[in-house]
């Protein structure tokens, strides 16, 4: 039964998350260097879990709202907006303030882009209009990023580049608390309105016929999915594929009923990114391997597997 599989997946993902947390923190594969590494890795693994989980949750919601299996958390251009915010911080802010201003700038950039998309789309008047607004806004914002890159010096360019590649090392208790709180709110809210999400995933007219206030709920879900995604990008840079692939994996195992799959999607996304981070540590020698490289590579291969499976069936 799909219901049992969803429960199994939830339990399995939760157990895996805890095991990965312990492995990462203790350096079960690598010998821990010092007490500093234990604390550092613990925070890093927790951040990976929260970021991966939030992105997977966001991707699941966006795929339902847009009725498109290729939708991901960045479909409305918030990653480009966050990159512009971060790049602006690197270029214009004194070095002493970078640790605070880069995530703040990235978050502000993401929210500004979301705001622009909602205004252009008339507050999510229709799915097509929302999607087009997101694509166009993303393109315009990306041009700003290119401009900032062109006027940056070597140090600033290195900062922007490494930020875009994704980095889970910046976890602080405050950041983890904020991300965790946002993720829990998003998860609970999405679960509460999962019936409406299911209806929207079938079609706008069909959802209206099933008693859903389509425009309001679409706007609600867009904001609900964008806020955690924006905070993830601000905290950890642009980490790809976690939000695109994990919803597919969960649907493959536990079905498409959002009342059942939201929590497993969150947990599975969290485990995925924890695992990618562990792999990036293994693959790093002295030089750091960005986690975004591993997540894109692993996620891409998983996606190919899903596509080939779909073709065969």
């Amino acid at each position: 039964m799909k219901c049992d599989r969803a429960r199994l997946l939830t339990a399995g993902a939760l157990a895996a998350a805890v095991i990965l947390l312990i492995l990462s923190a203790r350096g079960g594969i690598r010998q821990p260097g010092a007490e500093v590494l234990f604390r550092f890795r613990l925070f890093r693994s927790l951040l990976g879990f929260l970021v991966g989980g939030s992105l997977a949750l966001s991707g699941t919601v966006f795929q339902a709202v847009f009725r498109n299996p290729l939708a991901d958390p960045y479909i409305l251009g918030i990653s480009s907006g966050a990159a512009v915010g971060a790049a602006a911080a690197f270029v214009f802010v004194p070095a002493a303030l970078l640790f605070l201003c880069v995530p703040a700038g990235a978050f502000a950039g993401a929210l500004a882009t979301l705001g622009a998309v909602l205004v252009i789309s008339g507050n999510a008047r229709s799915t097509d209009r929302l999607l087009l607004s997101g694509v166009v806004t993303g393109i315009v914002v990306s041009s700003l990023l290119i401009y900032l890159v062109s006027v940056s010096d070597s140090a600033q360019l290195a900062g922007v580049t490494w930020w875009i590649l994704g980095d889970l090392q910046g976890g602080t208790p405050v950041m983890l608390g904020a991300l965790g709180g946002l993720a829990v709110c998003a998860l609970v809210s999405a679960r509460f309105f999962a019936n409406e999400l299911n209806a929207l995933a079938v079609g706008d007219e069909e959802a209206a016929l099933r008693g859903v206030s389509v425009r309001k709920m679409r706007l609600f879900f867009v904001i609900l999915a964008s806020l955690p995604a924006s905070s993830c990008v601000a905290a950890a840079g642009v980490i790809g594929f976690a939000g695109l692939v994990m919803p597919h994996i969960v649907r493959l195992l536990a079905g498409s009923d959002h009342r059942r799959i939201l929590l497993p999607a969150f947990l599975a996304g969290g485990c995925f990114l924890q695992l990618c981070d562990l792999l990036s540590v293994l693959l790093s020698g002295a030089k750091e391997m960005p986690v975004g490289v591993v997540s894109s590579c692993a996620g891409g291969m998983l996606f190919l597997f899903l596509l080939s499976r779909r073709r065969c069936s």
Binding site: R30, G33, A34, V36, L37, R39, F40, R41, F43, R44, A95, A96, L98, F99, V102, A155, A158, G159, W162, W163, D167, Q169, G170, G171, T172, V281, S284, G285, A286, K287, E288, M289
Partner: protein, 274 residues
């Protein structure tokens, strides 16, 4: 012709030969655009400032070169501006964008690539530039000065310090083996921490930062950033305040004539820190 008819013979001959000499000198002066700050310094140091007709935006020493027109960034020169300066040669390091270098060559400009990543490459650069601007004697003198400096450094007492150089802090970028900076730290009498497998400048993994055994950090930006970095803040070097802030980064990061001054100042800072 009127001038020759009106004056004494000796005076006329002197003027004639002066004009001939000036024409000869101007015909033989090589027009150089330097896209590398270290090369600009070296050319001026060897007495060839008059050969320079343009510079990159990063070239700022000696101050007299600031009057020269800017021909773009050291990696991305402005081709049109550069060509309008009618250079005979462009000297650059190896960071120039290949397309720009090819464009210059297609326009008949000779491009010299002088990577300066070690003291021995600096010596080679002296030889090449000295020959180009006709200052071989000065170049040999400079090489002699460097050789004697290196010999005197070898006689210094070794300092019991393992230094990790971080050229930036956000993100942290470390100087690996085979970098100019690592060589200068060794010249200054300190040890570089274990850098095997870390050629060039790289972003260090957290495990490397903790495990490299550095007891002193050498940074070029605000050292307060070390206390904000999630890993650096826990290093013994940071906790004990063994962070040398070298504000004049060009003395150590720019492989020019002033690197010897940089080594001396680094030595002094290390000794003070001990």
């Amino acid at each position: 012709m009127v001038f020759f008819a009106g004056s004494g013979l000796k005076k006329r001959a002197a003027v004639f030969f002066f004009i001939l000499f000036a024409w000869t000198v101007s015909a033989g002066t090589v027009r150089i655009v330097s896209l590398s700050p270290s090369v600009t310094e070296l050319v001026c140091h060897l007495g060839g400032e008059e050969n320079l007709v343009g510079r990159s935006s990063a070239c700022d020493c000696p101050r007299s070169v600031l009057r020269l027109p800017v021909a773009g960034d050291f990696a991305r020169p402005d081709i049109e501006k550069l060509l309008s300066l009618r250079p005979d040669a462009v000297i650059t390091c190896d960071l120039i964008v290949p397309a720009a270098a090819n464009a210059l060559v297609r326009h008949g400009v000779k491009v010299y690539f002088l990577p300066c990543r070690s003291v021995s490459q600096y010596r080679e650069a002296c030889t090449v530039i000295g020959k180009l601007i006709g200052r071989e004697k000065q170049a040999r003198a400079e090489i002699g000065r460097i050789d004697s400096f290196v010999s005197s450094c070898a006689k210094w007492k070794k300092l019991d310090r393992k230094v990790l150089c971080l050229i930036w802090l956000k993100p942290p970028i470390a100087a690996g083996e085979n970098t100019f900076l690592a060589e200068l730290v060794t010249l200054a009498g300190a040890r570089s921490c274990e850098l095997k497998g870390t050629a060039g400048y790289f972003k260090p993994a957290a495990e490397f930062l903790v495990g490299c055994g550095a007891d002193t950090l050498l940074v070029f930006t605000d050292p307060a950033l070390c206390r904000e970095h999630p890993v650096l803040r826990h290093l013994e070097a940071v906790k004990r305040g063994r962070v040398i802030h070298f504000s004049r980064s060009e003395l150590l990061q720019r492989p020019g004539p002033r690197f010897t001054q940089g080594v001396l100042e680094l030595r002094k800072a290390l000794e003070n820190e001990m």
